[in-house]
Amino acid sequence: MEATCAVLDASGAIGLAKGGCLLNLPRLFPKCLMPPLAVAEVIDPVSREALESALRLWLVVESARTEVYNSAPPLRSVPDRHVVALALTHPGAVIISGDRRLTNAARREGIPVLTAPDTVKLLAEQGIIAAAKPCLDLMTELGFGMRADEYAAVLKALGEPLD
């Protein structure tokens, strides 16, 4: 597992932006990519502002190659298929998304997947952020909910209190 590259789905970008963590992503991954159709879906002001900063600094907008797109799992939504196809284009890529069906389709292609809360966990583990809980709570407060078991698992793994 090289994890040399992160492919951001819109849900991954929005979650990390709302948690105030998006701009730390290059400290985990040397290369971060996002399909243009997914970039266009990030429109809430908080996430858009963070995404615009990322686009100016390090986030690369890239489309999957046509032949890879055509061989990607036949998801009904074109942006969904582009997310998976872009990860297939880059060996060692990890998809950051909270979308259950999309990530299941990616896993079947052998692509590893991180959710936004898992990514926050990695940032905390690596000492890039002081604690995960404030970020996860901020995500939730700004409308990016997560499953209670995922929230608890991240905090438990980091030894952070639940309340």
Partner: protein, 94 residues
């Protein structure tokens, strides 16, 4: 592929006004889509399309219903492997 879900309901003898029926049908469709998306049978985008919403509109609906956006099944082994790879790379870069 499109499948039709039929819901049988009891209604009072005096009947239900048409607008109420239409709202009930829309609510039933919304509930079915939300359920299928949360169960991982529809992606967020597929669910949004079904309800005539854009991506953000569907996230707003999830927030309104207090349902999770981050709903993927975590794979702890994968997360651990990614964590190790990142640690290794950061040590090498230091």
């Amino acid at each position: 592929m499109t499948r039709t879900i039929t819901v049988d309901l009891w209604v009072p003898d005096e009947g239900v006004p048409e607008p109420t029926w239409l709202r009930a049908a829309a609510a039933a469709k919304e509930a079915a889509v939300l359920y299928l998306q949360q169960e991982g049978e529809l992606t967020i985008r597929e669910a949004a399309m079904e309800l005539g919403l854009n991506y953000q509109g569907y996230l707003d609906l999830l927030a309104e219903k207090r349902l999770p956006v981050s709903n993927a099944d975590s794979d702890p082994e994968t997360v651990a492997m990614i964590s190790e790879a990142i640690s290794r790379r950061r040590i090498e870069a230091a």
